[in-house]
Amino acid sequence: MSLLDLKLKVNGKEYRVKVRPHKRLLDVLRDDLHLTGTKEGCGIGECGACTVIMDGRAVNSCLVLAASAEGKEIYTIEGLEQDGKLHPLQEAFMRHNALQCGFCTPGMIMSAKALLDKNPHPTREEIKEAISGNLCRCTGYRQIIEAIEEVSESASKGARE
């Protein structure tokens, strides 16, 4: 089994890695690039803990081969912070106590970001739909939905001004 020499673009930065063909994007993010914000929960696309944004869409990084991700724009939770400032979604999750153990949070926020990037003013139903592939087993979803709603509301205020 040969090693593949891959060029990956993650959070705007180019990385070169040598990986075996069966390695998943999730493995490379965590083990090679040490971006451990992305979590492995189920490993079979049921829980959404490994959600990242690839070419503008939320995907399960446990179901993408690292080699398939070559040439794509990938964003992980680590890519949200700008100049030491957290992303409004991260701030809102803290304000709303939208996490307890935090394991689902990176995936949850990436799903929320994929939604807001495409649809800055989603309805509550659209928010629920967007995070329907992300399981949370301790916080419950209400605080999470409210946190996302707050960011979308402030976005709509921003748009009106």
């Binding site: 089994m1 040969s2 593949l4 075996r20 063909p21 069966h22 998943r24 490993g43 079979i44 696309g45 049921e46 959404g48 959600t51 869409r57 939320a58 995907v59 399960n60 446990c62 179901l63 993408v64 081969l65 080699a67 398939s68 070559e70 040439g71 799903s111 994929a114 739909e129 967007a130 329907s132 592939g133 992300n134």
Partner: protein, 297 residues
């Protein structure tokens, strides 16, 4: 995790050549939402795979278009793209509905119609709809092209007529005649992220005076291969649609399911459930209120 060699196809030609060289030991990788789950589980069905041919970058296989009344979906069209397509929403709304209910947003963003066909899960959401549309699969190999109806392509649970060296490149169907109404209902154990326990795809066209001119009934997760249940369709064809006839057709469909699959552990649950789903879907497609549901509720 199952181990394999990997090649990324840069063109359809390259993909076909790699698949041809790999023969039975090669498989095509599209969205990966089924294949990677299987590799991780070291699924016996995939144990012989030594070469993965990644076709994910063949953007020429991701399209939805209509030509001369024929709607064609490239094999790499994602469930999300189909669910969002204004053409599909108008031409075959139940296909958009089925695609919008596959897995989760993450799965729909990666999973493709070609992959759903080749995985041939009995619970696949698109299969009953594609059979109801009398869709055809377009298969390409170095040797040329052949077309097979979806109803024949799927040969059993997780079994298809895909030959070594072949690739599904397109799924196509004739646009249903004007006046056709469709409905797809899926029964899962929960609302999101669910695998169909049962589903039903209905295509219905009524003529003058509400007489049923065309009716196609295809249950999902009910039969070994997705197929129209003609015995149930005959109850409706040529008749004026009523709640009573829809109920009868639903019950007939349930009987046919038992006749074909025999009694199984799930039969006592599936019989009343598929009968009710079918009745409801027929009435929804026909624009009639489901009186039976209301009185039962």
């Amino acid at each position: 995790m199952h181990k394999f060699d990997y090649v990324k196809a840069r063109s359809l030609e390259e993909a076909l050549r790699a698949l041809s060289q790999g023969g039975e030991k090669a498989c095509a990788l599209a969205g990966g939402t089924d294949l990677l789950v299987g590799f991780r589980a070291e699924d016996a069905r995939l144990r012989h795979i030594e070469l993965v041919v990644d076709i994910g970058d063949l953007t020429e296989l991701a399209y939805i278009r209509e030509e001369n009344g024929c709607v064609a979906l490239g094999a790499l069209t994602t469930h999300a793209a189909i669910a969002e397509s204004s053409l599909i929403r108008v031409a075959a709304p139940f296909l958009a509905t089925a695609c919008s209910q596959v897995g989760s947003p993450q799965i729909r963003n990666r999973g493709t119609v070609g992959g759903n066909l080749c995985n041939a899960s009995p619970a696949a959401d698109t299969l009953p709809v594609l059979v109801a549309l009398e869709a055809e699969v377009v298969l390409r190999s170095l040797g040329g092209e052949r077309r097979v109806p979806v109803s024949r392509f799927v040969e059993g649970p997780h079994r298809t007529g895909l030959r070594p060296g072949e690739l599904v490149t397109e799924v196509r169907f004739n646009r249903p005649l004007p006046g056709s109404r469709t409905c797809f209902i899926k029964l899962g154990r929960r609302k999101a992220m669910s695998i169909a326990r049962l589903s039903i795809a209905v295509l219905l066209r009524t003529g003058d005076g509400g007489v049923v001119e065309e009716i196609r009934l295809v249950p999902g997760a009910a039969l070994p291969v997705p197929a129209r249940v003609t015995a149930a369709e005959e109850i409706l064809r040529g008749q004026g649609l009523t709640v009573e006839l829809a109920r009868e057709a639903g019950e007939k469909l349930a009987q046919e399911m038992v006749r074909i699959t025999g009694q199984r552990w799930s039969t006592p649950y599936k019989v009343p459930a598929i009968a009710a789903l079918t009745r409801r879907a027929i009435l929804t497609a026909g624009g009639l209120e489901d009186v039976a549901t209301r009185s039962q509720a």
